[in-house]
């Protein structure tokens, strides 16, 4: 791969393996959404599918963490996410308050239990 970066140039590689394969799905979405309004069945289904994918992404990031987050035990991550949710509900559904509480719990748990 390093060779390809040298042969083709890093910016051409970026366009070929990053920009184009990523952007194509946005453009397919643009063409599909032509002429559809907010109440169209396909639009309602798409929103549900996108929300489910998002939930999958969130669950994956918390349960199957990678990188430095993986060194903090799963139990600590789950307790921290729960703290975030409780703070969010108590503080009139404030995302900011929830994130703050969750991160604080993660730091405390991480300092005690990290391996």
């Amino acid at each position: 791969m390093k060779q390809a970066m040298l042969d083709l140039g890093p910016y051409l590689v970026l366009i070929l393996v990053g920009f184009l394969p990523n952007e194509v799905w946005r453009l397919v979405g643009l063409l599909t959404a032509r002429g559809l309004d907010e109440d169209a069945e396909l639009v309602i289904w798409s929103r549900a599918a996108a929300n489910a994918i998002l939930a999958g992404v969130i669950a994956k990031l918390i349960l199957f963490s990678t990188g430095e987050l993986a060194s903090i035990p799963l139990t600590v991550r789950l307790v921290a996410a729960t703290c975030a949710f409780v703070a969010f509900m108590l503080m009139k559904r404030s995302v900011f308050a929830g994130v703050l509480a969750g991160e604080a719990a993660l730091v405390v748990g991480g300092l005690i239990f990290a391996h």
């Binding site: 791969m1 390093k2 390809a4 890093p10 910016y11 970026l14 366009i15 070929l16 393996v17 990053g18 920009f19 184009l20 394969p21 990523n22 194509v24 799905w25 453009l27 979405g29 643009l30 599909t32 959404a33 032509r34 559809l36 396909l42 639009v43 309602i44 289904w45 798409s46 929103r47 549900a48 599918a49 996108a50 929300n51 489910a52 994918i53 998002l54 939930a55 999958g56 992404v57 969130i58 669950a59 994956k60 990031l61 349960l63 199957f64 990188g67 430095e68 987050l69 060194s71 921290a80 996410a81 975030a84 949710f85 969010f88 995302v95 929830g98 994130v99 969750g102 993660l106 991480g110």
Partner: protein, 242 residues
Amino acid sequence: MVAPRTFSSSLAAYVAGVRSAWTSVFMVVLAGTYIGMGALAHGVGLSSWWLAVSTILVWAAPAQLIMISALSLGGTLLEVAIAVTLSAMRLFPMVVALLPLVRTPQTRLRTMLLPTHFTSISMWVESLRLLPGIDRDFRVPFCNGLSSGYMGTAVVFGFAGYYLAAGLPPLLAGVLLFLTPLSFFLSTVRNSRTLIDVLALVFGFAVGPLFTYWHVDLDLLWTGLIGGTAAYIVHRIRRVAS
């Protein structure tokens, strides 16, 4: 029903969008994410400008992560392109759900190119929440402002992470990585006002980890297809029943 917020000009709507970006929790999230991305790019020997251009052109953190790590691990160009395109499929339903909310019947296709390119998780979540409160004639500039605010933040903090790279203590790196799932979790919960939104999230939370645990290929796409369709079916049945 409150009257939708309107503006004196497109520029005013754009500026209001930028301001919304900079006062939202995603500002912190993107800063954290791209500090990590910058550190990664530095670690594998890519240039900081290459990272900045990739943030602008690709504008999807998962795809950038895949691209950078796969390139550094020596994947072939085709392998990297396939991995990126598989991660990008989720953008399709997001764009289809978002664009009808952004445009007016008169809006041209080429005017929609920019909001289409800007579609990413943080922008999608915030647009779905904020756009219904904005006068429809000003949604495109507002949305572009919101997205440029986010993108600018990501580019700047990508540089910051690149030059801070070596100095991140592990616990701080863990805190940065935890920002993304936490903020996505709480903001999607906040955005879910209808039954179908709530069900899609619940089904996604339930099904997603099982697919990942069982090492099912394309786990996230199956989660979207099955979780989303299940939520949609319940929504249809309830609508017919009432």
